[in-house]
Subunit: 196 residues, 2 copies
Amino acid sequence: MAEKKAYHHGDLRAALIEATRQLVEEKGPDSFSVSDACRLAGVSTAAPYKHFKDKNEMLVAVVLEGMARHRANMLSALQEFPEGSPERITAIGMEYVAFAMNEPGVFRLKFGGFTDRIADPRLEEGGQQSFGILLSEVAKCLGESRITEEVRRRGFLLWSFVHGLSFILRDRGLADKGEEFDLHDLLKDVSERMLK
Amino acid sequence: MAEKKAYHHGDLRAALIEATRQLVEEKGPDSFSVSDACRLAGVSTAAPYKHFKDKNEMLVAVVLEGMARHRANMLSALQEFPEGSPERITAIGMEYVAFAMNEPGVFRLKFGGFTDRIADPRLEEGGQQSFGILLSEVAKCLGESRITEEVRRRGFLLWSFVHGLSFILRDRGLADKGEEFDLHDLLKDVSERMLK
DNA sequence: TGTCAAAGTGAGAAGTTCTAACATATGTTA
DNA sequence: TAACATATGTTAGAACTTCTCACTTTGACA
């Protein structure tokens, strides 16, 4: 069970993912180094390569784990409101933005420009899943039984907005441009304009 | 005039900025290395440090230059439409998205998560300038003579949307989610919804 | 119990950023 | 116009990266 100085770690893979996540938040994804993660996990710098192909795979693992959490958060935020109510759209948006602000490192890792290096099909798939959640809510709000072209269009517009808002608030913080506005009001306002 | 093997380069600073810009587009900002830029410019790896404090300053220089170009593009796109017409808002948006798609590397460098490392006041200032252009157009469209709270609010919403749209299109390309939609239609649609 | 695969380690190759000491042009200024 | 100060290069190298290789340790199971 890995007392103190066990040669085998127990679950080094998970430990490295957590160390990576932590460092990505602390120092930012672009300053993250595998060696740092090793120091934090207390293993040699060669150890990660038994669990991950390379540095990128470590980062991908962190993003995948983060996306799963993100998706779970959105789904649970949803359930506080009755089926088909427009508040559910707002709730998704709130959760999306909250993730960007609470985990800026992971958010950036996913969306903010590592997509060239991190081009894993599982990431694409995860993104589609999240988008699907939104689409099905939009459909209900528009009184459609299936994902029509118009539903996709409105969903795409809403997604763009919330995505951009998340970046801006993550970068500048509410303090700068957003504090003057109430986040929930903004999201409600936009949802209404988009669903009308 | 730097014939062939002149010891002094002529304008190494500019040459390095261009080399950096080029490499950032080619390989992505996170894979950019100073050494690559040196090879491309044909100088030793120590040369850049006579012109830039460090790697970050090189990247900042590229972003500043890109932002100036971006701003100029937006202003010139604007002038194709009469003062106060809503098409001017759409034109700004088109230009914003076009920049993201034409220069994804620089766009990402500016917005996509290097803001921790690249926290230069000149960048913030440049961003405010661009936002100012949008705000003054929004004011005119709403028939306001000055930048009211409501103008800021609408401008902020529009900006968020276009910003998010740019990221999504840059990441996925029109091919994936956007091709089904006409970009100009989307922007026009949103502008109308937001200014109503 | 013995063997084998899994999961660690240390050493080191190749590449990175950046500094220090040195070399060479350029342009004032005596 | 010679000489010096300064700007702009270079080479060498220190300290760091990522990742590989050959090796060791350990747990599992035949």
